[in-house]
């Protein structure tokens, strides 16, 4: 067991705090009043972070902007700006560095310091936590949290789960694994795939402890190297404990900028080959970098050095992001003359590398798909895997190209209520709203016992709900139908993903309908609301 101790400082909703500190959100609430105006920071149409007032109004992370605005009309919406967030964090880091040396940034808003030094200087870990909270409050972050544990991952989780008062949580030495064991498996999401926790839950592994109890070989075989790392973290074996590691200069890269550059985008563009070489050099030794030191030296000899940790491992793009953030943080008095990239924590890559997954596709297939991915994004290209589930959309999982196909819910064991073959040839990713009426024109309504008020006589796909051109317009008489079959899935959660009802509304049922033109449809009904879920076309 490692004898290192790590202290992590976490500023909740940092994007919002950064925007407020930066004056972007200063409105009638005024400076110092971030708690009063509801503020949300959005990225690509989705809410990324919310202020306490906005949270009280029901705005949550992950909502679409429109939905957030409909829940809270006076919501101030700000754009996500990683550069500004890094810049706003810089004064906070300096304030922390003044009392505790060796600060490492996990991301803007979260940093780690070696706890031993700070604890012995400030009189114990608890005292150090209290002092740092005080320092942060003076730096304009009143609601921060501190966690102390052996590894940075456990320490961050301790900070995130710390109570508002006293605002810190100390995990005793050697207590990382029991502490993590009780946490929900979702906390591993940044280390694993974003979809992996959902999968682990389906496998019955609800806590980090249950995941940690798996055999390491099984985890590696199913989740690849990121799974292996998540597993080590879950067991409390966090090798990237904060501070005090010897840098690996032979793997590092130094770039002299001649002439010196003062624009961040120029510096980043110049560094791109070096960052790629750095990652490729490590890959050549079957290593990945999880902790990186970036040193920026300006023309006059001034320097800014920062250590960055990564939840998975650094890709070339990640390295460049950190350089960009560090440049945004300021501290240099002249154009940048030299950049040092030093990997300080490296780990074996594990048993799997990208490209070998999926049964060893031919090189030219892999190249063509990667090219399309670079044009459209990583998640735009992939294959599908069929697993278990009742609804047609639940039964297939999309696996982005290059990712390891995740084991899905078993397809065989009983899924009562699943549709018998033949299966629909078009399964809508989002069910389209529809209207179904009886012979007399009264709407068909499903009651709590699963029976329809009137047999369906006519149906139509609602205006605006039609997913593609070529869908029938207007009413269509029903030639034959069957159902309703209860599809009472996931009623116990209020997870709205894949739930067309947008909330816990209880009873759902499916119907098969054939129109007079010979087209066949799979409809979903909940009370008086109807959706087209799939089409047999």
């Amino acid at each position: 067991m490692s004898t290192r101790r790590t202290l992590v400082l976490w500023c909740p909703d940092w994007p919002v705090t950064a925007a407020v500190l930066g004056g972007q959100g200063a409105g009638p609430g005024g400076p110092g009043g971030p708690g009063r105006r509801p503020v949300a920071v959005v990225d690509r149409g989705q809410v990324l972070a919310v202020s306490p007032a906005a949270r009280a109004a029901g705005v949550r992370r992950g909502l679409r902007v429109r939905e957030a605005q409909s829940r809270c009309a006076e919501l101030v919406v700000l754009r996500h700006d990683p550069g500004a967030e890094a810049r706003a964090f810089e004064p906070v880091l300096r304030a922390v560095e003044a009392v505790a040396p060796g600060v490492q940034v996990l991301r803007p808003g979260t940093c780690a310091v070696p706890a031993r030094g700070a604890a012995s200087y400030l009189g114990g870990e608890t005292a150090a936590a209290a002092v740092l909270l005080d320092v942060l409050e003076q730096a304009g972050v009143p609601d921060a949290r501190v966690g102390v544990a052996d590894g940075p991952f456990s320490a961050e989780q301790a900070a995130r789960t710390a109570e508002r008062l006293p605002g810190y949580q100390v995990v005793p030495t050697g207590g990382d694994r029991p502490f993590l064991a009780g946490l929900p498996v979702e906390v591993l999401a940044p280390v694993l795939d974003p979809d992996a926790p959902d999968l682990l839950r389906r496998l019955g592994l609800r806590t980090v402890g249950a995941f940690a109890d798996l055999a390491p070989g099984d985890v590696l075989a199913r989740f690849g190297s990121s799974g292996g790392r998540a597993h080590r973290l879950a067991r409390g074996d966090d090798v990237a404990a904060a501070g005090g590691r010897a840098p690996l200069p032979e793997l590092g890269r130094t770039v002299e900028l001649d002439p010196p550059l003062d624009r961040a985008d120029q510096v980043v563009a110049t560094l791109r080959p070096a960052a790629e070489q750095l990652v490729a050099g490590l890959a050549g030794q079957v290593l990945v970098c999880t902790g990186l030191r970036v040193e920026l030296t300006d023309d006059l000899g001034g320097a800014v050095s920062r250590r960055w940790l990564h939840p998975r491992f650094f890709t070339a793009a990640d390295v460049l992001d950190r350089v960009r953030w560090q440049l945004a943080g300021g501290g240099l008095g002249a154009p940048v003359a030299r950049v040092d990239l030093l990997p300080e924590d490296v780990e074996p890559q594990g048993a799997h590398t990208e490209g070998l997954w999926g049964g060893g596709p031919d090189d030219h297939v892999h190249q063509a798909l990667t090219r399309v991915q670079s044009r459209l994004g990583h998640r735009a290209v992939g294959t599908s895997v069929v697993g278990g589930g009742r609804g047609p959309a639940d039964r297939t999982t999309f696996v982005p190209w290059g990712d390891r196909p995740l084991p899905t819910r078993p397809g065989e064991p009983p899924w009562p209520g699943r549709l018998p073959p033949p299966l629909p040839s078009t399964v809508l990713t989002r069910p389209a709203q529809a209207t179904v009426v009886g012979a007399a024109g009264s709407p068909a309504v499903l009651d709590d016992r699963g029976t329809l008020s009137v047999p369906p006589a006519r149906f139509r796909v609602d205006e605006g709900g039609r997913p593609a051109a070529g869908w029938p317009v207007g009413w269509q008489p029903v030639q034959a139908w069957a159902g309703p079959w209860p599809a009472d899935e996931r009623w116990w959660t209020d997870d709205t993903r894949g739930h067309p009802t947008g909330g816990p509304t209880g009873f759902l049922a499916r119907l098969q309908v054939v129109g007079v033109d010979g087209s066949a449809w799979l409809l979903l009904v909940s009370a008086g609301h109807w959706w087209v879920e799939a089409r047999y076309d």
Partner: protein, 234 residues
């Protein structure tokens, strides 16, 4: 047979390899290749099979387009599905499509034809969904690439929209008769589809009645009277 002096033989070999390289580059000699095709469909297609370098237009039925993919995919070819956001993967698997070798690009963005172009050569059959209007020049360029690189294109368009320009064959489902569903009871057990194939080779369209799909999700010609099959499945 004359034995060439060594330097001449060397020059001949060099010339041959240069010619082969040019062929590979400009594709002048990539032969049209017949692909494995589901027997139910093979008889309807010109040449008796799906061929590389050709475009097949399918109107109004994703299932029929998928069935064209099923033969080559089951034979181990890499296939792609571009711009079909709701592609029913499980139904496709039922027809014989090997999902692990079928690449999906549900949303190809603003330039779907460019995405198809990038995949041509790497994949053997590409199914492309509705992509809006494809100009004659763009279609011609793509067809030339299909011939050079040995890829077949299946273009699936909704009923009533213009079919892909320059297609070798145009397939359409003109009538569907779904089995198994009553007035509030039963469940779908299969469909007898009226399939019409029009090709440039023959003036008269080919017609056939197919199970698309049958009660096990497969594609088959209708040979036994429908009622017997329904009874067996029911």
């Amino acid at each position: 047979m004359t034995v060439l002096p060594p330097e001449l033989a060397e020059r001949l070999a060099a010339a041959r390899s240069a010619a082969a390289r040019a062929d590979r580059r400009f594709g002048t000699t990539t032969a049209r290749r017949a692909l494995e095709t589901l027997p139910a469909l093979a008889a309807l297609l010109p040449g008796g099979a799906l061929h590389t370098g050709s475009v097949y237009s399918v109107q109004g039925s994703v299932a029929l387009a998928t069935a064209l993919l099923a033969g080559p995919s089951a034979a181990g070819e890499w296939c792609g599905v571009v711009g079909v956001p709701g592609f029913g993967a499980e139904a496709a698997a039922g027809m014989g499509v090997d999902l692990s070798r079928t690449v999906l690009v549900p949303d190809p963005g603003a330039e779907p034809v460019a995405v198809v172009d990038a995949l041509v050569g790497a994949l053997t059959v590409v199914l492309v969904g509705p992509v809006g209007r494809v100009g004659g020049a763009a279609a011609e360029r793509l067809t030339a690439r299909l011939r050079q690189r040995g890829t077949a294109l299946v273009a699936c368009t909704p009923l009533g929209s213009p079919s892909w320009p320059q297609s070798t064959a145009e397939l359409a489902v003109t009538g569907s008769d779904w089995q198994g569903l009553g007035d509030g009871h039963g469940h779908l057990t299969g469909r007898v589809a009226e399939v019409v194939v029009q090709s440039r080779r023959s003036a008269r369209p080919q017609r056939a009645r197919l199970w698309l799909p049958d009660h096990e999700g497969r594609v088959a010609p209708v040979t036994t009277p429908v009622e017997q099959v329904v009874r067996a499945a029911g």
